[in-house]
């Protein structure tokens, strides 16, 4: 397969995300810009400009009309996907780490960092009016979750819970109405770096700096599967169709890259069999750690964004779909 290289960013990527149909790919990086790409040919649809700090996170709603981005400039912005117009800018005391639309597109979850004496906040805003500039500046819910810093967060099935991954490697279920921590499970030794839901949101995958990725059940937070690699992981994604795989990626810390050879860097996307927990293949190409991985909702392609500033979009060859794991 010949990857498509997207060079829309000047600094390292922080997150990439497909929309529901998978025709658009959104990428954010530390260079303040949000890019929108057509995933089938890598054509850039446009850029969303207005942030004045590194953009940590991005999400698009299921009808691909609204885009939300969270940045280190202490704002989260709501954008009109079709024309790049900023509809709303929410201001906070600290940087925004995670954003996500709820399953019904009515709510958006924002998580801010604890810093400079300000506690971490978990805020939920109402965006059910769609593409309009009349969005409330006041959150529907605003909590100060206790415990270590939240590094990743996602909505559970039917908005019953918010799943939060923490800096100490634990995963917590938070009730979105009361802000209470319903249950918690320490699954990783080190920082949890990524948390992505399965398509039906009944289970999710976590990636951690402790070199492992794990699949957990949403309701019970029970570890179902574990994938242990030889390098710190920054991202993990579940393949929704065609093959029972998960894709994990990472590499040694960016600050250590110059002191070792690129072969030892292990900057590869690794494919693991989801059920049998066996590594089945690798895709190399990045020359820096992989920061984020997203899989097309139809399972025919995937994209990875690296510390090197590139997004690589890979469309699988035909033999990928006919592969059968031999036991």
């Amino acid at each position: 397969m010949r990857p498509i290289l997207l060079q829309g960013h000047e600094r390292s990527l922080t997150q990439i995300k497909y929309n529901r149909e998978g025709d658009l790919l959104f990428s954010v990086s530390k260079d303040h810009v949000v890019n929108a790409w057509f995933s089938h040919n890598g054509e850039r649809l446009g850029t969303y400009e207005g942030h004045i700090g590194a953009v940590w996170t991005v999400d698009v709603n299921s009808s691909s009309t609204l885009l939300v981005s969270g940045s280190a400039d202490n704002t989260a912005k709501l954008w009109d996907v079709s024309n790049g117009k900023c509809l709303k800018s929410w201001e906070f005391n600290t940087a925004v780490r995670c954003v996500q639309f709820s399953e019904d597109d009515k709510l958006v979850l924002l998580v801010t960092e604890p810093r400079m004496g300000f506690p971490a906040t978990l805020q939920i805003f109402n965006v059910e009016n769609g593409v309009t500039e009349t969005v409330s500046s006041e959150p529907v819910y605003n909590f100060n979750p206790e415990g270590p810093k939240i590094t990743a967060a996602a909505w559970g099935a039917l908005n019953r819970y918010i799943i939060a991954g923490r800096e100490n490697g634990s995963v917590a279920l938070i009730d979105p109405k009361t802000g209470e921590c319903v249950s918690t499970n320490k699954v990783h030794e080190l920082t949890l770096t990524d948390l992505q839901m399965s398509s039906d949101r009944t289970y999710f995958i976590t990636a951690s700096k402790d070199k492992s990725a794990k699949i957990l059940e949403t309701e019970s937070l029970e570890v179902l599967k574990s994938y242990t690699t030889d390098t710190p992981l920054n991202s993990a994604a579940i393949m929704p169709k065609h093959q029972e795989f998960v894709v994990v990626g990472g590499g040694q810390e960016a600050m250590d890259v110059t002191t070792t050879s690129s072969r030892q860097g292990k900057f590869e996307c690794r494919f693991w069999h989801k059920i049998l927990e066996e590594e089945v293949g690798r895709v190399r190409g990045h020359f820096g750690p992989i920061n984020t991985i997203a899989i097309h909702p139809d399972g025919r392609s995937f994209a990875s964004g690296g510390e090197d500033g590139y997004v690589r979009v890979h469309h699988f060859d035909d033999d990928f779909f006919t592969f059968k794991f031999q036991i």
Partner: protein
């Protein structure tokens, strides 16, 4: 004076316009003439066949395809812009059930390391403890196998003595006088040092060249290059004295039979010190 990019003889009017033909099979041939980087005119023939492929997509997806570009892409033509979108090298995703294929690179590397751990690395050029390809003197001493000419020289030596058809240096001949003459005792002090006699040097060799050639093997205490009294050109031989006998031995083994300035060098122990 600026040189014209194309030869005037090649320029024929009317060829600059691309020519387009469409044949019965619907294959369009476009012939263009362009000037390439070397300033030469090239003919570019492209044969294309248009095929309309119908693809059923989601209505929303189809609508999004028609969206005008915005932000930094505002006003740009549809289609990928090579400034931001490129196609990378082909990458094979090799799926394997055994789990061993994916680690082959690392394992090969480790295996090679282990294999070389117990091996003494010896350069074929300068006999140093590095790979021949990594030899710093590779360029000056040449890449050819040092063992081959050395072996050839050894085989040739007895033949020379038997047949007598080839030239043999006087001191090498069977009846050559043994050491111990007056001249030798005069140079006794000098001869305490291991000295090599280098012959078959070319005319324009200097002392610096010789010491450059030999100093890599060890410390050189003296280089004597025989020069013609009148022309000051090299007479074709030199003496090189080392401080350490082992260094001299290594130099002898390495340089003897080696090509230098299109001549095959001959290195042997200087007679008086042997």
């Amino acid at each position: 004076m600026p040189v014209s990019a194309t030869n005037w003889a090649d320029e024929v009017d009317g060829e600059d316009q691309p020519q387009t033909f469409t044949d019965a099979n619907g294959i369009t041939t476009i012939i263009e003439y362009r000037t390439n980087e070397d300033g030469k005119k090239v003919k570019v023939t492209r044969r294309t066949q248009k095929k309309l492929i119908h693809d059923v997509v989601n209505k929303a997806v189809a609508a999004r395809k028609k969206w005008p570009k915005f932000g930094k892409e505002k006003g740009n033509r549809p289609g990928p812009d090579p400034a931001t979108t490129n196609v990378g090298d082909n990458i094979k995703l090799k799926l394997s059930s055994t789990g061993d294929v994916v680690q082959d690179v690392d394992e090969k590397h480790e295996a090679m390391k282990a294999q070389l751990q117990n091996k003494k690395i010896l350069c074929r050029i300068c006999k140093g403890d590095h790979f021949t390809t990594k030899c710093p003197y590779k360029d000056s001493l040449g890449m050819e196998d040092a063992a081959a000419p050395a072996a050839a020289a050894e085989e040739a030596a007895p033949e020379e003595q038997q047949s007598g058809s080839k030239y043999i240096a006087p001191h090498m001949r069977a009846g050559a006088p043994a050491k111990g003459s007056d001249r030798d005792s005069m140079r006794e002090k000098r001869d305490e040092q291991p000295t090599l006699r280098v012959t078959n040097l070319s005319e324009d060799v200097t002392e610096a060249d010789v010491s450059e050639l030999f100093k890599r093997f060890g410390h050189i205490s003296r280089v004597f290059l025989a020069r013609d009294r009148e022309t000051n050109a090299c007479k074709g031989f030199a003496f090189v004295s080392f401080t350490m006998r082992e260094d001299a031995q290594r130099a002898l083994e390495a340089i003897d039979g080696r090509g230098y300035d299109n001549l095959i060098l001959r290195v042997e122990w200087a007679r008086s010190s042997a």
